[in-house]
Symmetry: C2
Subunit: 660 residues, 2 copies
Amino acid sequence: MPSQPHPFDPLSPEEIATASVVRMLSSLERPLFRVITLSEPPKKEIIAFLDGFTPPPKRIAKVHAYISKDFHEIFVDIEGRAVITNNILDGRHSHVDTAYMKQVEIACLDDARVKAEIQALSLPVEATVIVEPWTYATDGMNDMSTRITMCWFYMRLSDHPDANYYAYPLDIVAEVSETLEVTKIYRLPSGRDESINNDEKLYDHSKIHSSSEYHPGLSTNQRTTTRPLHVVQPEGPSFKIEGNHIIWEKWTMRVGFNYREGMTLHDVRYDGRSLFYRLSLSEMFVPYGDPRCPYPRKGAFDLGNDGAGLNANNLKLGCDCLGHIKYFDGWHVTSSGDPLKLPNVVCCHEQDDGILWKHTNFRTGNAVVTRSRLLVLQTIITVSNYEYVFIFYFGQDASIHYEVRATGILSTAPIDVGDQVPFGTVVAPGVLAPYHQHLFCLRIDPALDGHKNSLVVEESVPMPFPSVSNQFGVGYVTESNTVTEEQGLDLDHQKNRVFKIINENKTNSTTGTPIGFKLLPYYSQMLLAHPSSYHAKRSEFGAHAVWVTRYSDDELFASGTHTMQSLGEEGIASWIKQRQNDSAKAGVRNEDIVVWHTFGSTHNPRIEDWPVMPCEKMIVGLKPVNFFDRNPSLDVEVSTQAKNKSVLVGEQRPAGMPRL
Amino acid sequence: MPSQPHPFDPLSPEEIATASVVRMLSSLERPLFRVITLSEPPKKEIIAFLDGFTPPPKRIAKVHAYISKDFHEIFVDIEGRAVITNNILDGRHSHVDTAYMKQVEIACLDDARVKAEIQALSLPVEATVIVEPWTYATDGMNDMSTRITMCWFYMRLSDHPDANYYAYPLDIVAEVSETLEVTKIYRLPSGRDESINNDEKLYDHSKIHSSSEYHPGLSTNQRTTTRPLHVVQPEGPSFKIEGNHIIWEKWTMRVGFNYREGMTLHDVRYDGRSLFYRLSLSEMFVPYGDPRCPYPRKGAFDLGNDGAGLNANNLKLGCDCLGHIKYFDGWHVTSSGDPLKLPNVVCCHEQDDGILWKHTNFRTGNAVVTRSRLLVLQTIITVSNYEYVFIFYFGQDASIHYEVRATGILSTAPIDVGDQVPFGTVVAPGVLAPYHQHLFCLRIDPALDGHKNSLVVEESVPMPFPSVSNQFGVGYVTESNTVTEEQGLDLDHQKNRVFKIINENKTNSTTGTPIGFKLLPYYSQMLLAHPSSYHAKRSEFGAHAVWVTRYSDDELFASGTHTMQSLGEEGIASWIKQRQNDSAKAGVRNEDIVVWHTFGSTHNPRIEDWPVMPCEKMIVGLKPVNFFDRNPSLDVEVSTQAKNKSVLVGEQRPAGMPRL
């Protein structure tokens, strides 16, 4: 870490240690630390610093801790080693506590009624029962002021610790209280409707099968036909990194990281011009479509409840990335307040991406071709069964792409052999993979040549026909509307609806239009849950694909700051509603705005997603539109064999034959 | 070439030479050959051969040639060296003849009135006037029974032969007849409407600028920061290729190539199971949205008029592709009937594509990760100013992706300095890049475990609420409809509308549903031209995103077989209309069907697309849905550093510093 941290730098381990000064707050009980993270300075302070007018703002830590069972939010002045504010967050819950969840598992398996219920199943003798504790998605059936954990049951049928227990969902479920008591245990519905056969308690041994293992230690037929492919960079990578500052091919940016959002990007510039103040995944929600009680309780906020940072994988050289790789570590805090390293949570490397641009002059036969090099910033998270790969790609043409890959293992539920339901897919005998959605919300805080930006909705529309100015019926024009009030908007590919972020104060001298960037959205179905459902009220961002709000330092999380067992109506739609009719607060034209893009997948599982899912890709883009004065990648060096050293394949020996 | 060609193999040079036996047809005049290509055998004959029941069908050549000014279509039995049929295609035109186009240019520049008009412009002394001849998109203003060529004028202001003349569109246009006479020369509109200032003849010298060159010989500031990146495959590629047959990671397929479609794929199988009989780009249309006469004549069928095969680039090792590359040559015919080699028109190589699948067992901490290797089949075409990159990607997970990249130079028109129009972008002084669309039609001829397939439209819909079976308002189900009649259909991401090709005769034994593949469409605006326009009548496929038809040997080209100056109403919608109400012909349920996907871009140019355009990507996918019994890439070897040999980046020297 640099000695003088940049305002966007995450807290260093030394700073985390300093912030644990809050241990002093209670002489009786040691705080149980949940979070010590950077409290990002107010934007106006950072801008003043970035513009060179002021020294860096104070380093402030935000601390979440339980002290005497109260959930505290404490702000600490690092340099001053002093608590600034200390509040109890009444009725709020901290994000998932893995230590607590482990206790829940143990308590559940120790419970006599649970034992009896398992006994009644008459499982195979080699079975090991696994309890998978899940947070409780609010459904109106219980008081949410204390934690309730849903315990789903599975079994493992092999001694191998990585045997896939999701292949054996059992039809019992338990609810565990804040105080680790099993408050309910009951059978799950296992057929078309909610009816439960309480007479037939026995596990159906015909569900036992052998096709659901993914671990190489458990599968016999590994293909051996894929020959090695190395990315070799004889002169090293093209990027330069100092601390969290990355310089690459005219791009500069700062990488941030926190327990909740994971990787964040700050002060993103191209060729010295400001583009984005902050880019981050704001939230994600995974609601399940199985209507049968208690399945509506399956609905995970993987950022707000679990933390993309906390669950970030320790990326491994040569496994998760090829070529020359720079890794970034993250820092968190132990429950006792000590700095905790999260190693290799972000990787940075380059990729070749095929042709960047090409033209052959047909008159001279001369081809000019350039290859596209990308800067890749990747993080991967594991949230119980699923994994998500989050990647920012920076292009030499000043484009940014954000890719999400969903992989991992489907969440499963039991189903009677031979049965089918219209809200799930049977992926193995007795294994239902229920339909669900993955809804992501990308937060785009633009700063295109300054902080006063606007959102324009542009459509391509046919000119009236017949008309004097469109005699042949082929004419079309673009029609643009600048959004004036905060709102949610929808995509419409049939109108080629384009969302452009522009700076109305800067005109492109050639095109005569404002400089801008456009969003290349990922077309997705929005939330399917009914607007009056808790799912909908809790994930307001899922109602529209594009949202625009006036910037506020407090609004980073589209479903609100505290999602754990939240009751809803504290997300992006609620912020907008609160400010509506107050143009001083809700006006978004030529103001400091934030654009949010909701996208994802309605994931109705295929059997090909089982037992582990090949990545499903979702890609969002940001591209300059009349921002520069021409193709910003025009100066990329022409591609040559001398530089690229490819190899011609001539006559071949068959694949799989002995190696040369 | 193998001694015994496979029925899908393109004609060998020897076969082309044999087919020129048709020279004998006229004792008086030597034929002017335009095409000698494989006439693909009827599907039923090929199936009988593939299934092992019959020897390979006869090799038949289709020959297009002008003989005594008549346009002939001749079928020749190769082995028998005999003409089978010989017909004159009355009222039809062959695809663009570059030799003729060159004659048009010369005739145009030789014309006295043209010379006078150029003289009147008073161009800079260093100017070289360039005539860019374009085919005439039918607009109802002329008789289309003879060829008319539109000649657009540009100038080059540098001695460099690759100076970008599209940067200097002149405001004159000429029309040239079949017999090389300039029939009209007139001024182009250069402002908001069609009005033409015939008084002001002088070229506006304030349009001269220096920012529009793309050739490295003409630009001074090449960036030098991009360090080399090599793809090294120490054991060679994982594919095996014999002739046109490719074997790679459980995939097998045959690569075809012809003058019109360029690359085609045949008999595509995974793990021995039949998936697709034929995959090809059927047609593409590029209509311009500038309504001012004569611009509605800009509307190019780049396959039917120009030929994706004929215009395929000679791909260069290390420039157009990295790693170990196998190239395929194409063969065409000279005007005198000799075989003409089109070298390196298709390249085949492998790419790494990041994570294929990953799961970390949070209980054991054990991560299992595999990397995705792709097989890439790429072809690139140049059609005057534009280039298109067409790529098939095959995945280890049995997915196929088809990617189109649009690059090259925008077609430009003159505009008065300081003016703007709502149907184009000013990209340089006096240079208008008019709005236009690129509409592609991918032809998908499925053979999922056999040739009787169906198309299903599936939507994800919320369950009724409130209702007993959906108490919490979160339930949703899929609703499926099997298409019974030929038709065009539209996309609807808001309903998560999914198009599945299924085989109703084969049930997945685990899911209990028919085996299938789903289309991952590229969401695009359809044709903007009015349905009664010639553009719309000629490009019927542009009206809907997905079409399903009953297979017919004659229906490969969605805008009809002869698009040059066509009058329309002979494309996919017309085929369907002709057969409607005849269920014996129009039924598509459990029949041999073809699915067509129309996609593309409404390309309203950005200045960043100038003077050469960074690739715009459009991607379509095909993925198995309950076709296999589990993830078909489950057996891919786990990713290890031992195999992948990545390099850790530690402390860095700054980029741009002297190399080590």
